[in-house]
């Protein structure tokens, strides 16, 4: 065999299944003299080496990302599906009406909504909006279907932990009515008191990076500085 010259061969139509389509054929080795083979082989090898050396002498063409050193400057695109968060209005109220559309749209039951009927508003109010990152497949269905634009994904992607229970999040930081509902409450005092603070990890599944029964807080890694 010999060195193959990389030229498409035999361009032309071919018939298959009663249809005619244009094809080109792969080049095949032809029988050359040993000299030509050696020359071709050498040429091929030198061509490859020249290319590599070209990159050595032109480091500006190298594209390596210096992660994690570039953490400060690394910005993911705005549509990146990193972590789910609740959209907050300026007054601190969220937009979720507890309508459960996202819960139904989720293919993995990664969203679990706990709601109650508000005493003042007489409408459903979120207690816990539980998002299970551990079962989430980042399909975007929840954000896509939410009619109130209450949840969004952002670019936080370093979510790895040592315990999967830490991947159960509570998205809302208060239990209570959403923004539009809260605006309807006339009484200033009542409006302020309708919010009960909720900590990030307080879902029905025990999950906490902080202080929760049975789970140690994740401190600095042990055994390194000692």
């Amino acid at each position: 065999m010999s060195w193959i010259r990389l030229q498409p061969q035999k361009p032309g139509p071919r018939r298959i299944g009663g249809i005619e389509l244009q094809t080109v054929s792969a080049p095949r080795p032809d029988s050359d003299s040993l000299w030509k083979v050696a020359l071709g082989g050498l040429k091929g090898m030198l061509g490859g080496m020249k290319l590599t050396l070209g990159y050595v002498t032109h480091p500006s063409k190298v594209v390596t990302q210096q992660y994690p050193e570039n953490r400060e400057t690394l910005k993911l695109p705005e549509r990146a599906r990193g972590r789910l968060y609740f959209v907050k209005e300026e007054n601190g109220f969220h937009r979720c009406t507890a309508c459960r559309i996202c819960e139904r749209a989720c293919p993995n039951e990664s969203i679990i909504i706990h709601a109650h009927k508000g005493e003042v508003t007489k409408k459903p109010e979120i207690d816990h909006y539980v998002w299970r990152l551990d079962t989430c497949t980042f399909c975007y269905a929840c954000v896509q279907t939410c009619p109130f634009d209450a949840i969004r994904f952002d670019g936080r992607f370093e979510s790895a932990v040592y315990d999967r229970r830490l991947l159960v999040y509570n998205l809302n930081d208060y239990a209570g009515p959403h923004d539009t509902l809260a605006r309807k409450i006339e009484d200033e005092e009542q409006r302020a008191s309708c919010r009960t603070p909720v900590r990030p990890y307080e879902g029905p599944v025990p999950a906490s990076g902080e202080k929760l029964h049975g789970i140690e807080p994740l401190g600095p890694p042990r055994g390194e500085d000692e």
Binding site: I19, T23, V24, A26, V63, R79, R81, F138, Y140
Partner: protein
């Protein structure tokens, strides 16, 4: 006549070289072998260095996706199809979308179809660049791996801009597209395409033109066209065997009927042909993308409400299309609910895998790596 099915035990007991001199033995390749690109286990029956038989053993990454699909709405199924052949996630999305749209009678517009076609072609490039890099690495050349990934990364970032995901995209959905194109999409794609034109030539200089690489590929693992058809092989594997069956041409979908491109085919169906067919496909896809990016019409990108329920009429529906690895088909049986009663994927890799049982016997152990790389297998697609 009912065909005789052999169990693994039967195969192990079979004496394939009766009266032969040397002793045969078995070696496991995988399920954790780097050249199998996933958890594929190949049981090799060897006679010295010569392969006598290859028995693929599947099941290490079976997730029961088809069963899960029976409990998912049609919109949710789309995101599961990402998880089959993850390097052709968009093509898989599109296939599920097509079958649902046809069954539900959802009409799309020209913009949606053009973007879908463009995305599918870009993904073909993305998939083939990765394949090329890994192919080089499997042959023992590490530099192509880095170059392949470098060019793929740019494209991945372009996808990330528009779609928000890098691998499991879930972008093409019944009724349209998840997002409209990002404002940077067209300029970035144009720049990438311009750049990539020179990169394919670099690929040629680095690997295709190398005598050692050629020696390792030519006449290794030849598969005739009839055999390939008999095994159900599709995509570049089939075309390398000389059968120019490309669904984009013979049964056009999307806007492929308005596009002009040639189908690269091989002659002998050996590893070299499979390699060259993919390289040439990259050039063809490149030209297609260059045409498509300039011709995206205006229009809406989502025609149904995302939260709306999609119910399909009773019946059985099938659609197929050409992914970077071959024909991907979706067969669904509906009983009128918003979930399918039975769902089946016809995945290209399962059929392409079986070619290894035909082409490997008689070859050397080192060649099986080149053959696997030439078949371009994705294991989660076979096992589902």
């Amino acid at each position: 006549m009912t065909p005789k099915t052999l169990t693994l035990q039967d195969l192990l007991r079979t004496d394939f070289a009766p009266g032969g001199g040397t002793q045969e033995y078995f070696v496991n390749m995988g399920p954790q072998h780097p050249a199998t690109h996933g958890v594929l286990r190949l049981l090799l029956k060897l006679d010295g260095e010569t392969l006598r038989q290859v028995i693929p053993v599947l099941g290490y990454i079976h997730r029961g996706i088809e069963k899960i699909c029976e409990h998912q709405t049609y919109r949710q199924i789309v995101h599961l199809s990402d998880r089959l052949d993850y390097l052709s996630a968009l093509a898989n999305n599109w296939c599920v979308t097509r079958v649902v749209e046809r069954a539900a009678g959802i009409e799309t517009n020209e913009r949606i179809e053009t973007i879908r076609t463009l995305m599918a072609e870009l993904e073909r490039l993305q998939s083939h660049t990765l394949w090329w890099g890994v192919f080089g690495m499997d042959l023992g050349a590490f530099t192509p791996f880095l170059h392949g990934f470098r060019d793929r990364e740019e494209l991945t970032q372009i996808f990330e801009d528009t779609i928000g995901a890098r691998l499991t995209m879930n972008y093409i959905q019944p009724g349209g597209l998840l997002h409209d194109l990002h404002k940077d999409f067209a300029p970035r794609v144009r720049a990438w395409l311009k750049d990539f034109g020179t990169k394919v030539d670099e690929y040629d200089r680095m690997l295709s033109g190398n005598l050692i690489a050629q020696k390792r590929l030519v006449d290794i693992g030849a598969l005739s066209g009839d055999e390939a058809l008999g095994l159900g092989a599709t995509g570049p594997v089939l075309r390398a065997s000389g059968v120019p069956w490309d669904l984009r041409r013979v049964r056009p979908y999307g806007v492929y009927d308005q596009l002009d491109f040639v189908v690269p085919v091989g002659e002998k169906g050996d590893c070299w042909d499979r390699y060259w067919v993919r390289i040439e496909e990259m050039r063809q896809s490149l030209a297609l993308c260059e045409t498509l990016i300039e011709n995206i019409p205006e229009g809406k990108t989502m025609l149904v409400k995302p939260a709306a329920k999609i119910r399909l009429p009773e019946g059985t529906f099938y659609e197929e299309l050409e992914t970077p690895r071959g024909i991907f088909g979706v067969h669904l049986h509906s009983r009128g609910k918003d979930m399918p009663w039975r769902f089946h994927f016809r995945s290209p890799n399962l059929h392409n895998l079986w070619c290894i049982t035909k082409i490997a016997p008689g070859a050397r152990v080192a060649d099986i790596v080149a053959m696997l790389a030439g078949l371009d297998l994705i294991v989660p697609d076979m096992d589902r």
